[in-house]
């Protein structure tokens, strides 16, 4: 009889959710289902972040991915797809080669992972990373921060311009 750690259990459950959600996302015939599964996956990833003590990141993940990106996806789906399209073939003819290549890729990834000795630090993660992250953003990473703001603005304008009906 082995002791089951609640952490381990949570990890495996979340992993399952993520991978299953991902697989459904990429394989679902119905695009809307894909989107919902994507939301599910993303939410699970947020959970994974919580496990990794990255609370702020988890919140951001939910806020941005679920609240914004996934919503955009769903909007996109709604604007470009009809329920009647469900019957269409959803994957292209190269799915089998792709599967093979993905298999190989995963194999090599796993091989590489086990092969690489990572230097794991013993220092525990600080509990409250939000404060530290905020400080870092405003000091050390202020330039990327500003650049990203600019990027967002550009994306905003760009999206409006691109999608605008002439």
């Amino acid at each position: 009889m082995t002791e089951i750690s609640l952490t381990n259990l949570t990890f495996y459950i979340l992993s399952f959710c993520i991978i299953a959600g991902g697989i459904f996302t990429v394989s679902s015939r119905n695009l809307f289902h894909s989107a919902v599964f994507l939301v599910f996956t993303l939410f699970s990833v947020a959970g994974m972040f919580v496990m990794l003590n990255a609370y702020l990141l988890a919140a951001i993940q939910v806020l941005i991915y679920v609240g914004a990106v996934a919503m955009l996806m769903i909007f996109g789906v709604m604007l470009t797809t009809r329920l009647a399209d469900v019957r269409l073939r959803h994957v292209n003819e190269q799915s089998w080669p792709a599967l093979a290549i993905c298999g190989f890729f995963l194999a090599f990834l796993v091989y590489g992972l086990w092969d690489t000795p990572f230097t794991v630090s013993g220092v525990p993660m600080p509990a409250d990373t939000a404060h530290a992250l905020g400080t870092l953003l405003m000091t050390k990473y202020v330039l990327p921060f500003e650049v990203v703001s600019l990027l967002l603005l550009a994306a905003l304008v760009g999206a409006v311009v691109i999608a605008k009906k002439d």
């Binding site: 609640l6 919140a59 679920v66 609240g67 919503m71 709604m78």
Partner: protein, 353 residues
């Protein structure tokens, strides 16, 4: 004396002792603990919401010079329970052309998301499930799930009214979320924390309520929150005169009840956030130890719920373009202004805290 934390702790240690005595492993006990907390929370909120439903009917009746429900119980106080039972008994109609899984999961998502907020809400002194370090952000994040649920409902119903309702809802919620978050930012800037517990303890008397320092912030927040809840005057997603019943058109029975409850939960949530961030939360106006904290909390919250109801029966519904325009052209600039002013205030009076 009337603080609930002590009572709960006592009950919990009793249960743990019992379970440990039965030889149940530690991880299982923890699991049971979490489950119990969830159930209790759900129960508490559900009860409150049931009460709210009744109360809304009574308030609206009073405003329209009626009596409202009077039959079931004293002044119809268990009317809601009766309604719920009725709904649960009803046939769960599932139309043929729907996208079944979506249609099925939509109310669940909405309902769950609505309840998930309460993980980090301080109901009273010590009455908080988890005082997350990113509490405010968490609440904002979780509330967005509601939209997903609504969109799912709209799409899954395969009905153009539903779809339009879903669309409207998504657009509205996304739009108003921006000024809402920005309005909360003012409080966050002053309090220097995202934790709700800390924010409450910082407002330990009437004068320290953040509403005094963030009047504009509160106003923006409150308007945006009203819209977030899809409450009149922002109830366009389910505008019955335009869209039949919006995204709930194809729902009935239990699923409809879930949507219904979720709406009230959201209403309660909005009030909770307002109270917690701007009105001292469970703190009494006179200090931390004046009367039972949870009563203060509930009292304040109920007042704001009442305000929402009051809105509902006072204001007419907005047009959809007015709705969006108001968010982007009025609230958003005001929110930015608020942030600027806050920043300026912090810069000028650094010792305000």
């Amino acid at each position: 004396m009337l603080e609930l934390r002590g009572i709960i702790d006592a009950i919990w240690s009793f249960i743990v002792g019992l379970l440990a005595g039965l030889g149940i492993p530690q991880w299982a006990i923890e699991l049971v603990g979490y489950a119990l907390i969830a159930v209790v929370m759900f129960g508490v909120v559900a009860v409150i919401v049931l009460f709210l439903v009744w109360w809304e009917r009574k308030v609206s009746a009073k405003m329209q010079d009626r009596l409202g429900p009077m039959r079931v119980g004293w002044h119809g106080i268990i009317q809601t329970i009766a309604d719920a039972i009725k709904l649960l008994q009803k046939e769960d109609i599932t139309p043929k052309a729907i996208d079944f899984p979506i249609h099925f999961w939509a109310p669940v998502v909405t309902f769950v998301a609505a309840f998930m907020v309460y993980v980090t809400v301080p109901f009273g002194k010590g009455l908080i499930v988890s005082d997350l370090s990113v509490g405010v952000l968490y609440i904002i994040a979780i509330t967005t799930f509601t939209v997903i649920g609504l969109l799912m409902a709209g799409w899954g119903s395969n009905n153009k009214y539903s779809l339009l309702g879903g669309f409207r809802s998504a657009a509205q919620v996304v739009s108003y979320e921006v000024p809402l978050s920005l309005a909360l930012l003012g409080v966050i800037m002053i309090s220097q924390t995202l934790s709700l517990g800390t924010i409450v303890t910082q407002q330990d008397n009437l004068l320290k309520w953040y509403v005094w320092r963030q009047p504009l912030g509160f106003l923006i927040f409150w308007i945006a929150a009203t819209a977030e809840c899809n409450r009149t005057p922002f109830d366009l997603p389910e505008a019955d005169s335009e869209l039949v019943a919006g995204f709930v058109t194809e729902y009935s029975g239990m699923k409809f009840a879930m949507f219904f409850l979720a709406e009230f939960v959201n209403m309660f949530t909005a009030s909770v956030v307002a109270v917690t961030l701007f009105f001292g939360g469970w703190m009494s106006p006179f200090g931390p130890d004046f009367g039972p904290s949870w009563m203060w909390f509930l009292g304040k919250t109920m007042f704001f719920v009442f305000v929402l109801m009051w809105f509902r029966w006072t204001y007419p519904r907005l047009r959809v373009d007015q709705l969006m325009g108001f968010a982007w052209k009025v609230l958003l600039p005001l929110a930015f202004l608020n942030i600027l002013l806050t920043g300026l205030g912090i810069y000028l009076f650094d010792g305000l805290k």
